[in-house]
């Protein structure tokens, strides 16, 4: 070891000035780190007794070292501390090296959402590729990262099948015949009674009545033949109009009907496709849906109360939904030939080469490489020669091109060409391909000079809802809000639609801030919340009417406002009936601070022996005593514990309700699961590593506000990584800092942040 050090010192002496710093790096590590991260001990599986060049080769390790030194997390409190100046110098050297590493942005392919939206915008059809295209892998929170886009034979096969599915539907051989079907109570079927009491569906005069919401059990389906239970099956792909006559009763508010696809008798295949709000007094609705051949429809009463599991059958007293008539018309063809057919085949007769060039350009606004055209032309020629119609020829070419890298991958040059830049922007703000106006702006050079006009136009377009929805879904994990429970035995009054509304709140806050140019500080704390009728009641705020989210000023006594006070966040970080301070704390670090935290590689989550602990706090503090965990948990735990005054569905509580499950009682074929509740006081106060005490939601929000700069930069980082399709690391600091500085004058407005991200030179680089 000494010999090595001498060698390096010697080499350092001989090398030019830039490398002079390195031996002092080694010295620093030897003096301060190697005792625990060297030959004797390798805490966290980290060794720092390596030559600097070897350390520099490990980018991730380098980032970790810089981060822990900068935050004062290492060396640990009880070890001798290096001088602050020395630490600062080491961090500066590390950062300098990190900045020289140009982040790679590997080739990206279209995500399922991008693919679906692109097809919609090109051909005007609402495709649902759920059963066709595999789900995308999510890396560091987003599915847009090229790093994570692994190709496989299965994926290629899926592209091929999807392409055929699309081609056969956008280029049909004949105009589909529109038909109409009418159904009334004679054709309606439901799930009759639940196995246990608390509700049921039944026929009543001219109506069929739904009383409960269980997507798998309670639903209304219908058959053409009143005598048969064979469900109505959609005969052909296309757009269908549904006219439903239905009304709620025993309800003072708006209710919600769900339209599901799937076999109502064997409900495993159910998937929700649409929810229709039924304002108070509504007598029904008309809607249009794109359906596939073989699809089956069923209606559910989504805003019904979840029936309890009592064994005693009780008469239903709550709200009910009465269905009286249903009319289905379709497939609708508003114009023939369809817009898609005209787009793909603008002329009745096109030569193979002309056709290939046209479709290639239509799909990606980029021409095919000259040498690749011929193979596609061959496909067209072959189809034509074997007597295929123009439509059949175009179908073959379309399938081939939709399966090819030309369409699947997003081509990006090191310095983005104009069309590529318009693609990056439109897949950022529309999650889809650019339109003509954006393309023209790109081609004229206006986009690279000053993108603000296009960004404004795009944000005003309804297509920006896709960005708002997709970004907040992944950033805030809104789709996971309802992954657990709520256990109806513990949370008796939480209705399904309230939970559904919780999942929408984060998106609506983002939308409101974006539309009104509000400061991103509102993510940390705000004097208003976005609520609809259900959420306003749940938060005990002044009443709001209807399902649409509106800003409501928070009364003084309420602690709501900001992302960490949202019920959706509080619920998604909890299990069926217990809160999880660790999930809550690490969620804040990951999603607000944009920190990368993972359990260290050498730590088994050491079979935590939590017998004999009564509260979550005791259980967790026990594991926090393990040295290996404490580095991250000294930050995670205080933040999580401060939120203990909020229960697993996000309601304020003053004590724990400890839930214990009693042994299952069996009675014939029925099993009863009983619970025992005990009350335990809450102790939420804890100190953050910087010494600041947090003890409840308001003090936590104050602590987060004190960290405003770090959090806003964290959120900017999230936006950049979504826009660029790669992880934002320490190497991006100057980029993030520049965005942060440039919007300081505009009160850190979210809208300004998006403008600044697009205007930054890095947006035009791969």
């Amino acid at each position: 070891m000494m010999r090595l050090l001498w060698m390096i010192l010697l080499v350092g002496f001989l090398l030019p000035a830039t490398l002079h710093a390195q031996p002092s790096l080694e010295q620093f590590f030897t003096q301060n780190c190697v005792k625990c991260h060297g030959p004797e001990k390798q805490k966290g599986e980290v060794r720092l007794d390596k030559p600097v060049a070897a350390l520099f080769a490990d980018e991730e390790l380098l980032e970790t070292i810089a981060t822990v030194l900068e935050a004062g997390e290492m060396p640990p409190e009880d070890a001798p501390q290096p001088k602050a100046k020395a630490v600062a110098e080491v961090v500066r050297m590390l950062q300098k090296h990190i900045l020289t590493q140009r982040p790679v942005n590997p080739l990206k392919r279209l995500t399922r959402a991008e693919y679906t939206n692109t097809m919609h915008d090109l051909f005007g059809m609402d495709f649902d590729f759920a059963g066709l295209l595999p789900l995308d892998h999510v890396e560091q929170g987003f599915d847009k990262f090229g790093e994570a886009h692994l190709m496989s034979p299965h994926q290629v096969m899926a592209y091929l099948k999807t392409a055929r599915f699309i081609a056969e539907r956008v280029l049909p051989d004949a105009k589909p015949k529109t038909r109409t079907w009418e159904f009334d109570v004679r054709h309606f079927h439901g799930s009759k009674n639940f196995a246990t009491g608390g509700g049921g569906d039944y026929r009543d005069g001219d109506d069929y009545v739904l009383t409960g919401f269980r997507p798998y059990r309670s639903n209304l389906h219908f058959s053409i033949d009143p005598e048969s239970h064979d469900q109505f099956v959609v005969p052909a792909f296309g757009l269908y109009r549904l006219e439903v006559k239905a009304r709620s009763e025993k309800s003072k508010e708006g209710e919600v009907i769900g339209i599901n696809l799937g076999d109502g008798r064997h409900p495993t295949s159910f998937r929700n496709i649409r929810r229709i709000p039924m304002p108070h007094g509504s007598k029904g609705f008309t809607t249009k849906l794109t359906l596939k051949a073989g699809d089956q429809l069923a209606f559910t009463f989504d805003s019904a109360r979840v029936p309890g599991r009592s064994l005693v059958k009780k008469e239903h007293k709550g709200p009910a939904m009465r269905f009286s008539r249903l009319k289905v018309t379709g497939p609708l063809t508003e114009q023939w030939p369809t817009a898609a057919m005209e787009a793909i085949l603008p002329k009745p007769n096109m030569k193979p080469l002309e056709l290939v060039d046209h479709i290639a350009l239509l799909l990606t606004q980029r021409p095919l490489e000259a040498e690749a055209r011929q193979v596609f032309v061959e496909i067209a020629r072959h189809q034509k020669e074997s007597g295929g119609s123009m439509a059949a020829t175009a179908r073959s070419v379309l399938i081939a091109l939709l399966t090819s890298p030309h369409f699947i991958y997003k081509a990006e040059s090191p310095e983005l060409a104009d069309v590529e830049r318009s693609h990056r922007l439109s897949y950022f703000l529309w999650n889809s391909a650019p339109d003509i106006e954006l393309l023209n702006a790109a081609k004229s050079g206006a986009l690279s000079k000053d993108p603000s006009a296009q960004v404004e136009r795009m944000l005003k377009d309804a297509k920006s809802n896709r960005f708002i929805d997709d970004f907040t879904r992944q950033w805030l994990q809104r789709d996971k809000v309802d992954d657990f429970g709520p256990d109806v035995r513990v949370f008796k009054n939480v209705r399904r639609m309230t939970v559904e509304s919780m999942g929408r709140e984060g998106r609506e806050l983002f939308r409101h801030m974006l539309e009104n140019g509000l400061s991103m500080e509102n993510f940390i704390d705000s004097d208003f919340v976005m609520v609809n009728d259900r959420l306003a009641r749940f938060y005990e705020l002044p009443a709001v009417e209807g399902d649409t989210f509106l800003p409501v000023k928070i009364p003084d006594k309420s602690e709501r406002g900001g992302l960490v006070a949202q019920a959706g966040f509080l619920k998604l970080t909890s299990t069926d009936f217990a809160t999880s301070p660790i999930h809550r704390g690490s969620w804040i670090l990951k999603n607000l601070y944009n920190e990368r935290i993972e359990p260290p590689a050498d730590v088994l989550i050491n079979e935590p022996d939590i017998r004999g602990t009564t509260t979550i706090r005791e259980a967790i503090l026990k594991h926090q005593q393990l040295e290996s965990c404490s580095r991250c948990h000294s930050k995670i735990d205080p933040m999580g514990f401060a939120l203990e005054y909020y229960d697993p569905v996000g309601r304020k509580r003053s004590e724990y309700r400890h839930v214990e499950e009693l042994p299952v009682e069996r009675e014939g074929t029925t099993f009863t699961k009983k619970l025992k509740f005990t009350k335990v006081p809450i102790d939420a106060a804890m100190k953050l590593p910087n010494g600041r005490e947090v003890r409840d939601l308001p003090t936590l929000k104050a602590a987060l506000m004190a960290d405003k700069e770090r959090i806003l930069k964290g959120i900017i980082g999230k936006l950049i990584s979504y826009a660029h399709g790669r992880e934002v690391t320490r190497a991006d600091r100057p980029h993030v800092d520049a965005i942060f500085e440039s919007i300081a004058q505009q009160d850190f407005s979210l809208r300004a942040a998006i403008h600044a991200i697009v205007a930054h030179p890095a947006f035009g680089r791969k």
């Binding site: 080739l107 290629v156 496909i379 992954d483």
Partner: protein, 419 residues
């Protein structure tokens, strides 16, 4: 050709009575079709079963090394087959890192996991399928329950790319036994598929020239995938005109994913796929995650697996694990009852049962158990290991299947599985 099908025994047998009967009633197809193993033949097969959430090992692994003496309660569920069972304990996957939640589970069959790169290495089931899968309709079939999550992929092809894991019993059933409406169109579609694959391959190559090194590697993945799909399409074209096997097996509808419903159905389908010689290598990943529940147990499987050493949680967890092993036992028994060619399905099949973690309570990826059932087993019993690569077992298995290899993944030697 369809006419020569004969209904051996009419009527539909409910699934619950399926295994009680004296074996399956096949609608036997005729020459040149599936499900036709010549009477003199006895092909080798592999059934791989992986339990994602592992087993409670104190109740599975015998205390003593060597031939079975006193056996723990979980293992007792499999006592019908003790003469053919070798159980290995304390195995390790040195190239699978700890940490990162469930993600390293992707490496159970390949012995490799790298969190930075999603590509993996060849898994044992696919390595064997490459050896024995040429003459059947499917080279291999991989079943799993539940949606494909980041950590549920366990089967990897020779390029380290994920193999499709089918998650729906009805999809599996249709794939195996449903006849395509029109074989002629089918052939036309497959012919068109081939020319399309040629075209996209050419385009990918011309696009590749303009890419940097990282992106070229990405495009290589695409090219490799297309070439593999070409093979699959060829295979499909070959089998498209041949009669599919038919079975009197009715899929039961269930809205609750329990051991009997989900695991049972997947194992039934695995046996049917092997019995009809649709494939010779089947991999089944046992259900996991939140959706897996039993009606007389509160809590879900994943939650129970994090038992925190609480006795009441362990007790519930064990009830689930007992049920799973009981169901595997039933499957092995039914394989003994079915004759294909000149021997029973059990005689032809090597069954590997293993787990993605040592313990789901602590999320460790070492201390792995592996159970091998083989009718040719010479010495049955428990082989206690410590920090020996799982790949040594995999290499031993590969050699059993005739591979002339002296290395697989991280192997440091080969187990003599049978002796």
């Amino acid at each position: 050709m369809v006419d020569c099908n004969q209904v051996v025994r009419g009527g539909i047998i409910k699934r619950r009575t399926f295994f009680k009967g004296a074996g399956v009633t096949l609608l036997l197809p005729c020459m040149e079709s599936l499900g036709q193993v010549s009477e003199a033949d006895s092909p080798r097969r592999l059934l791989t079963i992986v339990n994602h959430l592992s087993f409670y090992q104190p109740d599975l692994i015998p205390q003593a090394d060597g031939t079975f003496g006193k056996t723990p309660p979980l293992l007792d569920e499999l006592s019908d087959h003790f003469n053919y069972l070798k159980i290995f304990s304390g195995l390790d996957n040195p190239a699978v890192q700890n940490g990162f939640g469930h993600s390293p589970c992707v490496g159970i069959l390949s012995g490799y996991f790298n969190k930075l790169h999603r590509k993996n290495r060849l898994s044992i089931d696919q390595a064997v399928a490459d050896l024995i899968g040429d003459s059947t309709r499917f080279k291999s079939l991989v079943f799993q329950a539940g949606e494909n999550l980041n950590f549920s992929q366990i089967s990897w092809d020779k390029h380290g790319l994920p193999v499709k894991q089918i998650d729906s019993p009805s999809k599996i059933f249709n794939l195996l036994f449903q006849v395509n409406e029109s074989e002629k169109t089918q052939q036309q579609v497959l012919a068109e598929d081939r020319s399309i694959l040629d075209a996209v391959l050419a385009q990918a190559k011309s696009m590749e020239k303009r890419l940097n090194a990282t992106d070229r590697a990405k495009m290589e993945e695409y090219l490799t995938s297309v070439r593999e799909v070409e093979q699959t399409v060829k295979r499909r074209a070959y089998w498209a005109d041949r009669v599919k096997p038919q079975v009197n097996y009715e899929l039961e509808d269930f809205d609750r994913k329990s051991v009997d419903d989900y695991v049972g159905t997947l194992l039934d389908l695995a046996v049917l796929a092997l019995e009809t010689d649709s494939t010779r290598a089947v991999t089944v990943q046992i259900p996991f995650w939140e959706g897996f529940k039993e009606r007389d147990l509160s809590g879900n499987y994943h939650d129970l697996s994090h038992h925190g050493q609480k006795p009441e949680k362990i007790e519930k967890l064990l009830r689930l694990e007992h049920r799973i092993l009981k169901r595997i036992n039933t499957t092995l028994n039914s394989m003994k009852q079915r004759t294909v060619g000149n021997s029973s399905l059990f005689d032809q099949t090597t069954t590997l049962l293993t787990a993605s973690m040592g313990s789901a309570n602590s999320h460790n990826f070492d201390d792995l158990p592996a159970l091998v059932f083989d009718s040719r087993m010479k010495t049955a019993g428990h082989w206690q290991k410590k920090d020996v690569p799982m790949s040594n077992l995999y290499l031993g298995l590969l050699q059993l299947f005739g591979a002339e290899l002296d290395r697989f993944g991280e192997s440091t030697g080969a187990f003599e599985v049978l002796s």
